[in-house]
Amino acid sequence: MNKDKFLQTGLLEQYVLGLTDEEETAVVKQFAEEYPEVQAEINQMREAMDQYARQYAVMPPEELKARVMKGVDSADQDSDSRASAPGPSQTGTNWWGVVLLMALLGSTLLFYRGKSSAEQDLVMLETRYAAFQKECETEKAALRQQQQVFAILNHEATLPVRLEGTPQEPRAEAVAYLNGLEKVAYINVGKLPTLPTGQTYQLWADVNGEMINMGVLDQQSKGLQVMTFIDHAESLNITIEPEGGSEVPTVEQLIANGEV
């Protein structure tokens, strides 16, 4: 096979992507050695792949660098201790060998004694690490959820609706967030007066004069609450209802409302 024909085969591209088998790899290497322009071709393709890979760069967490440096350090210590093992002495100064052997024996004994406690430590650390990792995952999931809420609040289609107290309960105040694109509704009920037991607040959407249930408010929760999203609401209304909520709002007990 001549060089031009070889370039036509597409073997070079396969080689760069690690797709060639042993035999094909040998062929490519032979051509690359013989023809500098083939090697240049390979280099260019690799460069393109490197650039491609670079597009996926992600900033690693800051602490990774310290971990890497530490890993390199301990790798060094490993190989140091291996390097200090007595090998066949070339100069004939066997004393060094003896000293090293003694030192090695001594340290082996020490290490052996330390080993079992180290193993115990390791098991304990592993358990703690696993627990820690699990905790991290939970935290991360919680954070993601928060981020989703945050993203919804910041979403351009999110419409805040301020609900103000009616003459019956002028102190009442709440803010709802509606997102028609994502079909989600949230409400913040921090400023509603506490109800006696047996009663609850309920949120309603007014659609063409009909009050549609958006859900019962949980008085215990202080943050954002997820409510049922109702399309084409003209206003949002909060009434006081018997515990568990009602099918139809008790209009006399309307304590806050706001136009959408």
Binding site: Y52, Y56, P60, V68, V72, A75
Partner: protein
């Protein structure tokens, strides 16, 4: 990006067992390495292990690096990639894959979330320029270590098609990244139009 001199200097320091070389290497290349590892193992903790192990291998085997066979970056990426692919083939990884569907679900759910996209550095620029059919072939080979028959099976394509997509895909990729050519063209057009204005 490391200049020629910089890279040569780094390699020399690395082969002299100068630990500050690792620190510099890290600053220069860790984001790319971490990105690749993430792309393959899809879990932060594992990807960090891959990066750490890669640097340890680099430190131990610096003497084996041969400039003639490719750039330092290529070498680093290869070690990262192989390390990450090995991880995906381990039994522990498979176990983990089956036990965390929740995480995947969250990932799919967060079209609204802002964090996924912002921590990737300039991803959208070039990758998307490559047509999907070439990209998937290249990614399966490069990121997942698939062989050609495996790719053919995975994508349900004849092997000949896979081969030709590999070939065209890499050619396209080279075109996309051969920026100097583009700059040259733009400057030529600019000079010509300048000349035209002056005349």
């Amino acid at each position: 990006m490391a200049t020629e001199w910089n890279e040569e200097n780094l390699v020399r320091r690395l082969q002299r067992k100068d630990k500050s070389a690792i620190s510099d290497l890290y600053d220069e290349y860790a984001p790319s390495m971490y990105g690749i590892a993430m792309r393959i193992v899809k879990a932060e903790a594992l990807a960090q292990d891959v990066v750490q192990e890669t640097f340890i291998k680099v430190w131990k085997n610096a003497a084996a690096y041969d400039r003639k066979k490719g750039t330092l970056f290529t070498w680093l990426l290869n070690i990262t990639r192989n390390g990450a692919i090995d991880k995906t083939r381990s039994a522990a990884f498979r176990r983990m894959q089956t036990s965390v569907p929740v995480d995947d679900k969250l990932k799919n759910d967060n079209q609204l979330s802002t964090n996924q996209k912002t921590d990737q550095i300039g991803l959208k620029d070039f990758v998307n320029e490559l047509e999907e059919k070439y990209r998937e072939v290249i990614e399966l080979a490069y990121f997942h270590g698939y062989t050609q028959p495996e790719i053919a099976e995975h994508l349900q394509l004849p092997i000949g098609t896979v081969k030709s997509r590999v070939r065209i895909g890499l050619r396209e990729l080279r075109k996309i990244f051969s920026e100097p050519g583009l700059t040259h063209l733009i400057s030529t057009v600019f000079c010509l139009s300048l000349g035209w204005v002056i005349v």
